[in-house]
């Protein structure tokens, strides 16, 4: 698609515009806080304090961020190929089966570092499997990926309720969850990483899957910008007809990209299941797949943007819990509003302030040009 807007300097394109969009999203969120009758500045203070005020809080913030890095990368990879994967939520949910199977099988006999790689493979495989069908349907049968992935989210949710209430639940137990994993199914915490900075992790479930997330983020960067396949998928994302003309197989790219995207979403399940609860519960994903959309949009689908965006949303989740504690009128649903506003302003309305900003830059350019002329004369 042709770009109807004038080109901006890179720092404005990747720094200023997302920043302005983000600020507007937060200002509107502040209006909601006002409507509820609380002071938005106080709310902001409680949020930042609740997210970074103590080692334990930072641990929680980074724990949530880990989850969002995975789902954000999942959405971003699909974006680059021009595909909108709303199904990260369902793929992460199904990915949980892979983690759980590995843990239930080996947690009593093997140490965590044996179980962990198997769980990674399992989660990625199950997530990829759940994304394969929508990808295949889009590529071969022409059904719209957005609609099929939405449908697959609901199907996943029904399937998981069935599995957790009938199949995976231990005998005699009422709660819809698996048994608690033994030592082999529990990931070590990253307390040493925080203690380097003199912080105490407390009860925060900040665990080794954070390092995995960083590694995977690097992997995604390599894949998209440093491999032939990445070049092909970006070509398809920019111009499907150009890709077709260049002999790139759309079918192949669509299916593989969706499977990668699903695999990344599935790996998200490692963090809550092996890192915090040590069992699979109903609804353990808790909307993280949808947060991934906001994270990917805010991070401009680049791993270097996704990691800070994920940390910002981790801050919202952890800090949001603290706000709810300090200001009873503001529950954690405030985060859902902010998430929606970020998606709106950083995604759908991303070009709203662009004309004004480019006019400003154009004016700046002219003025310096005339200044140079007068100096010359």
């Amino acid at each position: 698609m042709s770009n109807p807007y004038a080109k901006l300097p890179n720092w404005a394109e990747y720094g200023l515009i997302p920043f302005v969009n983000l600020v507007v999203a937060f200002l509107v969120a502040g209006l909601v806080v006002l409507l509820v009758g609380e002071n938005p500045l106080d709310a902001a203070y409680h949020m930042v304090n609740g997210a970074f005020g103590r080692g334990e809080y930072i641990g929680f913030t980074l724990y949530y961020a880990t989850t969002f890095i995975f789902t954000g990368l999942s959405v971003a990879v699909a974006f680059h190929a021009g595909l909108f994967n709303i199904g990260s939520e369902g793929q992460a949910y199904i990915g949980g089966i892979g983690v759980t199977l590995a843990c239930l099988w080996l947690d009593r006999t093997m140490p965590w570092f044996v179980v962990f790689p198997l769980a990674i493979i399992g989660s990625a495989a199950f997530g990829a499997l759940w994304a394969f069908l929508p990808g295949w349907l889009q590529a071969k049968r022409g059904s719209h990926i957005v609609i099929t992935t939405i449908m697959f989210n609901f199907i996943a949710s029904s399937l998981m309720v069935y599995l957790l209430t009938r199949v995976l639940k231990p005998l005699g137990s009422m709660a819809p969850q698996t048994r608690t994993f033994e030592a082999g199914g529990q990931l070590p915490k990253l307390d040493w990483l925080l203690s380097i900075f003199g912080l105490d992790i407390g009860n925060a479930p900040f665990n080794i899957s954070f390092l995995l997330a960083l590694l995977v983020a690097f992997g995604v960067w390599t894949l998209i910008w440093r491999t032939r396949f990445g070049y092909e998928l970006r070509t398809m994302g920019h111009s499907p007809s150009a890709a077709r003309y260049a002999g790139i197989s759309e079918t192949r790219i669509t299916i593989i990209v969706m499977m990668i995207s699903g695999g990344l979403a599935g790996m998200m399940a490692l963090n809550p299941i092996m890192g915090e609860q040590f069992r699979m519960q109903l609804d353990f994903v808790q909307g993280a797949g949808f947060v991934g959309i906001a994270v990917a949009l805010m991070g401009r689908s680049h791993p270097a943007g996704i990691i800070p965006a994920a940390i910002l949303f981790g801050m919202l989740y952890q800090g949001g819990a603290e706000i709810a504690f300090e200001m009873p009128a503001i529950s954690r649903d405030m985060i859902v509003i902010i998430q929606g506003l970020v998606i709106l302003f950083a995604g759908a309305l991303e070009n709203m302030f662009r004309p004004a900003i480019s006019r400003f830059f154009a004016g700046l350019g002219q003025r310096s040009a005339t200044a140079a002329q007068t100096k010359g004369a």
Binding site: S2, P4, V32, L35, V36, G37, F84, I86, L133, L137, R141, G142, S143, H144, V146, I147, T148, I150, M151, F152, F154, I155, S158, L159, V161, Y162, R166, F290, I293, L297, A329, I330, S331, D333, M334, I335, V336, I337, I338, Q339, G340, L341, I343, L344, G347, A348, L349, E350, N351, M352
Partner: protein, 323 residues
């Protein structure tokens, strides 16, 4: 006879649960036929349901509730329209955003204003829609076969229920027999041609989006003013997505939409009724399978195994005049 009564009861609840689906799917029909994809039906319905419940709860007037529900839903539609028509943003992204903003704010505002755990005050009397009983319903009920059909199935629904079913032929007429409808469909297939004819693509699409808002307003008001007495948080519970599925399942045609919504409503009613009871011939069916069936059917349809669903050609593509 007992079996017959069960069927009547089942069909009656089918009608009750399909009404919001019909409203919402028809709402989607208008925008999507005009080339604006809308996955924000869920959010608009939820926002309207909250507005209806809140206003009817405060004023005690069901009509005030309905009107405010429509206004809120139209405003949300206009946000979607502004993002996807004027700003030429991604329509899917915009729809997702609206769903989240509404899901969060209905809970926050509801809790702050009413302090009842995200509910609005329980409605009664004039603050709620009452069912309409047809003349002679009670005296005819005793007649075998026809009696129960007239008295229990046709009579005794809400005004909005009859409106929903009336809107099906009306929408067909508007879309296929009026100038506005012809242009609306044209703008979803080939906006360039419409523009060449000197008709504003932008304004047409905005009008389609407003129609969508009005209908979603009805859907939401039905949920909180008719089906239940007041708003409960998250009360749409995915109905907007089922409506979207029904819209696709119906291949973007009004009468098919009614049938698809009735089918999905029937599955829902059946799932509630069966809860643990075996189905004749098939045996025990997990409730979860019944719940997932509308989505599975839609996926199968989209895959082209039951006919082919071809969306409006210009759907999801913002119109750029210069090209």
């Amino acid at each position: 006879m007992d079996f017959f009564h069960t069927i009547i009861a089942l069909l009656e609840s089918t009608i009750r649960v399909s009404v919001p689906l019909i409203f919402a799917a028809l709402a989607g029909l208008y925008t999507e036929r005009a080339g604006v994809f809308d996955i924000g039906l869920e959010g608009k319905m939820l926002g309207a349901a909250f507005a209806a419940g809140a206003v009817a709860g405060i004023t005690g007037s069901v009509w005030a509730g309905l009107i405010v529900a429509i206004i809120i839903s139209v405003l949300l539609s206009l946000v979607h329209g502004y993002a996807s028509i004027t700003q030429r943003g991604n329509q899917i992204v915009s729809g997702v955003a609206i769903n989240f903003v509404v899901a969060g704010s209905t809970v926050i505002l509801g809790e702050a204003w009413f302090r009842q755990g995200g509910r609005t005050p329980a409605l009664s009397g004039d603050a709620r829609f009452q069912t309409i009983t047809f003349p002679f319903a009670d005296s005819i009920r005793e007649i075998p076969f026809i009696g129960p059909i007239y008295a229990d199935l046709l009579s005794g629904h809400f005004l909005l229920t009859y409106l929903a079913f009336a809107l099906v032929p009306i929408s067909w007429w508007v879309l296929y027999r009026t100038r506005f409808g012809l242009r609306l469909r044209a703008v979803g297939e080939n906006p360039g041609a419409v523009d060449t004819a000197g008709i504003s693509v932008i304004w047409l699409r905005y009008r389609a989006v407003i129609c969508c808002g009005i209908l979603c307003g009805f859907a939401g008001a039905y949920l909180s003013l008719a089906m239940s007495a007041g708003f409960v948080k998250g009360m749409t519970a995915g109905k907007g997505y089922i409506a979207l599925a029904a819209l696709i399942f119906a291949k973007w045609r009004p009468f098919n939409i009614m049938l698809a919504c009735l089918l999905f409503g029937f599955l829902d009613a059946l799932a509630i009724r069966l809860q643990g009871n075996p189905l004749p011939l098939i045996g025990q069916v997990p409730v979860q399978l019944m719940q997932a069936l509308p989505y599975i059917l839609t996926v199968i349809l989209l895959a082209g195994f039951i006919g082919k669903a071809i969306p409006p050609k210009a759907g999801g593509v913002p119109y750029v005049k210069e090209r």
